[in-house]
């Protein structure tokens, strides 16, 4: 039977048919077979063959009878491949072609396609017509050998003769029935359909035990039955594969509602079909029938094993439904179903490769839908039932609690109240929980929002940047470069009483380091950060050294080709002002002004040397003015220049003192250090012009230096480094030139209440001068002996208008200092026995001279005692508009005067005291009465005023309380 000995003639036939079907009209059958019935089907096939089908029949021989005469390999139809029946089949083939047609309308009508009349089926315009023609023979044999007709969709070559390809189960049973029916020859439409349905249902049950990868078991009959019912609506509903949710990412297709709708269609269909099937074959399929019954009577609890499984599955599905947004068709759902189900359920896998889809075929899905369908059918009922039960239970409980038990009216009310309370409590708790939850969530959200940028930089990135930053901070002299922060921190610490000696500097081997600024307190993160930084900086320093070496080697390459540029970030903040540092001035810091200063400075130096020769004679008041070169006083600008230089010197000295070598460094270092320090101090003294003749200029150069406020501030700092005799010189000079000091000159400006810039300035200068005087020179007074004091006071009289001096705050302070020092000496004399204090005993001559000087002082001041009080001066200057006692700040202003007068009173003789009392009587009385009569508002003010008065009164041996107003 084979031509050329080829044993497989059907191959040719099937190949041909495959070609035809796939090429011409495959979409109806083939594509349906490939991807059919599943979500993957795109429906494009429907559109593909919309037109151009008219000539299909002519092209493929669909017109008229198709003979087999071209099939040289086979004289009969190829369908017959059962070995035992092959020859007879071949002879039967032709008649069967005619015999079969009645079944075709059946299939077509079953397809529920009303547009297709019988005629349309018959005339070859229908897509099936060709199929019918071409497959006519095979269709006729279908009932007998359903498994033999190779589906074009088969992924493997079907060999009809291979035993393995035979599908054992569907092959026998259903075929027998149908073939026997066929042999009867005449079938009603219903009969045929019933047969096929029965077969399908049965097959489905049997196939549940089988692999999906064996679709060859499906007969063409099944296919036919399947195509219209399932396929048609599905085609309409399925989107093209690309747009289909299944082809998208799982996340995406979760949200596809369209998909659900589609699924519903399918399920409806399936349910219909299932119901039909079950109704028709109730007697044959008891199990199914029972399931059907269950479906119809859900309240019944049938404890059948299968049933239980079904319910269980339904529950799972319901659970999943509640959890997932995609109720019906999340991949999860399918995975949770029993493995068997999902296994035979092609749809269960979301994204199948076309090959698998094709292999499964359109028919795979339909019958297998049943279990899922059943389980799904239970879902709503199950939920409803449960909900109803729950509601009933809750109701019963509520009723119970409300009515149950023999409760009195009161009890019930209490109960209610309790419940109300409980409810309120619960509500509150719920609200609270919700609030906190919301808060937490907001926080979470924020953190999440911010954490978007987490790990944007790797640790090495961060290290790199830190390195750049830190490398800018490392310097050779960290203390000098961080001078302000270091000293400020030290000052703050000392002010707070924290004694830590460590400079807040990270030091490295070669003396380089990083200033850390004032120490921050607390924060546990610091130490570790510090350590990290230390390590990093160390590395940086080492790297820098390496690079330095590299640079040297690079320099040796000078002239070589190529570029040898360094690193760019090293240059980062560039110094924009490039002041010419190589100026001839010895103090380059002030190069910009040094040229102006050059000449006078030299002169000043020479003058100073001259003055040094003459020495202290000026102090004695016996200055021979012949040798003095009179000069113009220092200009403000010159004074500033000199001051800057002095400041530099002071800073140098301070630094030197800080760098004092330790005893273990040896004497040489110590000596060298001392020599250097002495040299600096000498420079300082020269710079201060202490030895210039008094007559050199008015004001004296030293006084000129005290004019600017920074000069006044320099005083205490300089004094710290000067030997005591130099301080005395300075004091003498100041006393001698006291009237030249700007503060004294300008002091009348203070005696007014008018607020002016000038007054404020004078006041500031006055305050600064006073404080620096008190800090620097005045302490020296406390060490002087009586003769020196007398001499100094005498000098004050000689050079100054003491009355005017006494009207300035510094003057009063100076005088008070003198008087109190003398008082101390006198007290010492009185208290210390003669014998022990021998050397300190003042010369009686000195004592007498002191008394003379004091008398002079008293006489000078006596006429204007009241004018010593700034408040009275102010009151007077105001023209009487501000009476005494109404001047703001009177008590603070007058306090030094009261103190001074007290000191005067102590030293005064009886007559002098009498005079003092007489002169001040009115003032004292006014003060006391203003306090007693309550003219003063605040307690503080009253106390101050009384205190002032008492200072003076006690000096006289009196007390303000003795005064009767």
């Amino acid at each position: 039977m084979s031509y050329f000995g080829f044993d497989n003639p059907i191959d040719l036939e099937s190949e041909k048919r495959k070609f035809l079907e796939s090429g011409g009209q495959g979409s109806r059958e083939d594509i349906a077979v490939y991807t059919w019935g599943e979500q993957g089907y795109d429906g494009l096939g429907d559109e593909l063959h919309e037109g151009g089908d008219e000539l299909n029949d002519e092209t493929f021989g669909g017109v008229g009878e198709v003979g087999k005469d071209f099939d040289f390999s086979h004289t009969v139809l190829p369908s017959d491949d059962l070995p035992q029946a092959a020859p007879s089949r071949a002879q039967q083939a032709r008649p069967q072609v005619y015999e079969q047609p009645p079944s075709q309308p059946v299939q077509s009508s079953a397809a529920s396609r009303p547009t297709h009349s019988l005629e349309s089926v018959w005339d070859d315009k229908s897509p099936f017509s060709v199929l019918g023609r071409m497959n006519g023979a095979s269709r006729s044999t279908e009932p007998h050998h359903p498994s033999h007709t190779p589906s074009p969709s088969q992924s493997f070559k079907f060999s009809p003769f291979s035993a393995t390809s035979n599908e054992p189960l569907p092959a026998g049973q259903p075929l027998g029935g149908i073939s026997s029916g066929l042999s009867k020859g005449a079938y009603t439409l219903e009969e045929v359909e019933a047969e096929m349905r029965a077969q399908a249902a049965l097959q489905h049950q049997q196939q549940q035990q089988q692999q999906i990868a064996q679709p060859t078991s499906l007969t063409h009959t099944q296919m036919r039955a399947q195509i219209p019912r399932q396929g048609t609506p599905q085609h309409a509903a399925s989107p093209p594969p690309r747009m289909h949710p299944h082809s998208q990412s799982p996340r995406f297709h979760q949200q596809q509602q369209q998909h659900q709708i589609h699924l519903m269609h399918v399920q409806q269909q399936q349910q219909e079909r299932q119901l039909l099937d079950l109704a028709r074959h109730r007697e044959r399929q008891k199990l199914l029938q029972e399931q059907q019954l269950l479906q119809q009577q859900q309240q019944q609890q049938i404890m059948e094993q299968l049933r239980l499984e079904e319910i269980e599955r339904a529950r799972q599905i319901r659970l999943q439904q509640m959890q997932s947004a995609n109720h019906m068709h999340s991949p999860l759902l399918h995975q949770r179903q029993s493995p068997a189900l999902s296994e035979r359920h092609p749809r269960s896998v979301g994204r199948q490769s076309p090959a698998i889809m094709g292999g499964v075929g359109a028919l795979g899905g339909a019958p297998l839908e049943v279990p899922l369908q059943q389980s799904l059918a239970y879902m709503p009922h199950d939920i409803q039932l449960q909900q109803r039960l729950l509601a009933e239970m809750a109701q019963a409980e509520f009723l119970n609690s409300m009515q149950g038990g023999p409760q009195s009216e009161r009890e019930i009310r209490e109960e209610r109240e309790l419940q109300e309370m409980l409810r309120a409590e619960a509500m509150r708790k719920i609200m609270e929980a919700e609030r906190s939850d919301q808060k937490r969530r907001r926080k979470q959200g924020k953190i999440q929002h911010m954490s978007r940028y987490n790990d944007l930089m790797t640790q090495s990135d961060k290290d790199f940047i830190t390195r750049i930053q830190v490398s800018q901070l490392v310097t050779q002299d960290p203390y000098a470069d961080d001078f302000y922060a270091q000293v400020y921190g030290a000052i703050i610490r000392s002010r707070m009483g924290i004694q830590t000696q460590d400079d807040r500097i990270l030091k490295f081997g070669s003396g380089a380091g990083v200033g850390l600024g004032p120490g921050q307190k607390g924060s546990g993160r610091r130490p570790s950060a510090m350590q990290r930084m230390e390590a990093q900086v160390e590395r940086i320093v080492n790297n820098a050294k390496m690079r330095e070496k590299e640079k040297i080697s690079l320099n040796s390459l000078q002239g070589a080709l190529g570029k040898t540029s360094g690193r760019s970030y090293k240059a980062a903040p560039r110094q924009l002002l490039q002041v010419d540092a190589s100026s001839p001035s010895p103090s380059p810091a002030h190069a910009h002004i040094s040229k102006v200063d050059e000449e006078p400075r030299k002169d000043g130096m020479s003058a100073a040397h001259e003055a040094a020769k003459i020495g202290h004679q000026a102090l004695g008041g016996a200055a021979n003015s012949e040798g003095v070169i009179a000069k113009d006083p220092l200009k403000h600008r010159e004074a500033l220049m000199i001051l800057e230089r002095l400041y530099d010197l002071v800073l140098d000295i301070e630094q030197l003192r800080r760098d004092q070598p330790l005893p273990e460094d040896g004497f040489e270092a110590q000596d060298a250090w001392e020599v250097e320090l002495d040299a600096r101090v000498q420079q300082l003294l020269t710079g201060l012009r202490l030895h210039v003749y008094l007559e050199t200029s008015v004001p004296h150069p030293f006084i000129s230096l005290l004019m600017p406020i920074k000069g006044k501030r320099l005083l205490p700092r300089v004094v710290r480094h000067l030997p005591s005799e130099r301080i005395l010189t300075m004091l003498t000079l100041i006393i001698a030139c006291f009237h030249q000091v700007d503060v004294v000159v300008n002091s009348p400006k203070l005696d007014t209440l008018e607020e002016s810039k000038e007054r404020a300035e004078v006041e500031q200068h006055s305050e600064v001068f006073l404080s620096s005087l008190v800090q620097s020179v005045l302490p020296a007074i406390g060490k002087l002996d009586l003769s020196m004091l007398t001499g100094l006071l005498g000098m004050l009289f000689k050079h100054n208008d003491v009355a005017a001096v006494a009207r300035t705050p510094p003057g009063i302070a100076l005088l008070t200092m003198f008087l109190s020092r003398v008082q101390n000496i006198k007290e010492a004399i009185a208290s210390v026995p003669m014998t022990t204090a021998e050397p300190e005993l003042p010369d009686p001559i000195d004592e007498r001279r002191w008394q003379e000087v004091f008398d002079e002082l008293f006489n000078v001041l006596a006429p204007g005692l009241l004018l010593l009080f700034p408040s009275i001066r102010i009151s007077k200057n105001s023209g009487g508009s501000v009476p005494y006692g109404k001047v703001p700040g009177t008590d603070d202003m007058d306090q030094p005067i009261w103190q001074f007068l007290a000191a005067m009173a102590v030293h005064s003789s009886m007559e002098q005291q009498q005079y003092l009392v007489t002169a001040l009587r009115e003032l004292v009385l006014e003060n006391v009465s203003s306090v007693r009569r309550g003219f003063l508002a605040s307690e503080e003010e009253r106390e101050k005023r009384m205190g002032n008065v008492d200072i003076f009164m006690r000096a006289l041996g009196l007390d303000s309380s003795q005064i009767a107003v």
């Binding site: 000293v487 600024g517 540092a581 103090s587």
Partner: protein
């Protein structure tokens, strides 16, 4: 380094930073680096009505190059020390 050193002592103090775009921001100085970039906390902008976009801003990082002035709290600056430091700086630069 001098100004950097000064700013280091001013951390956690209230300063006012005037920017070159005439924005004036007052806030607590949190940190400064050697470029004088400034980090401010609890900021307030002068003339808020003119800069409504700054009302919601609570802290900021200011690039050093856009700063025109920084107003320092007088009580936290040791003027004399600052003068000294300036002198030292000048002397050190002169030596170079």
């Amino acid at each position: 380094m001098l100004i950097f050193s000064v700013f280091k002592t001013l951390t956690d103090q209230k300063v006012t930073v005037e920017l070159k775009n005439d924005l004036s921001i007052t806030g607590v100085l949190k940190s400064v680096d050697q470029f004088l970039n400034i980090r401010l906390d609890k900021i307030e902008v002068f003339d808020e009505a003119r800069h409504p976009h700054m009302m919601a801003v609570k802290n900021c990082f200011i690039r050093g190059s856009v700063v025109r002035y920084v107003q320092l709290p007088a009580e936290h600056v040791d003027t004399q020390l600052l003068e000294d430091a300036t002198r030292r700086e000048a002397a050190a630069q002169g030596k170079r």
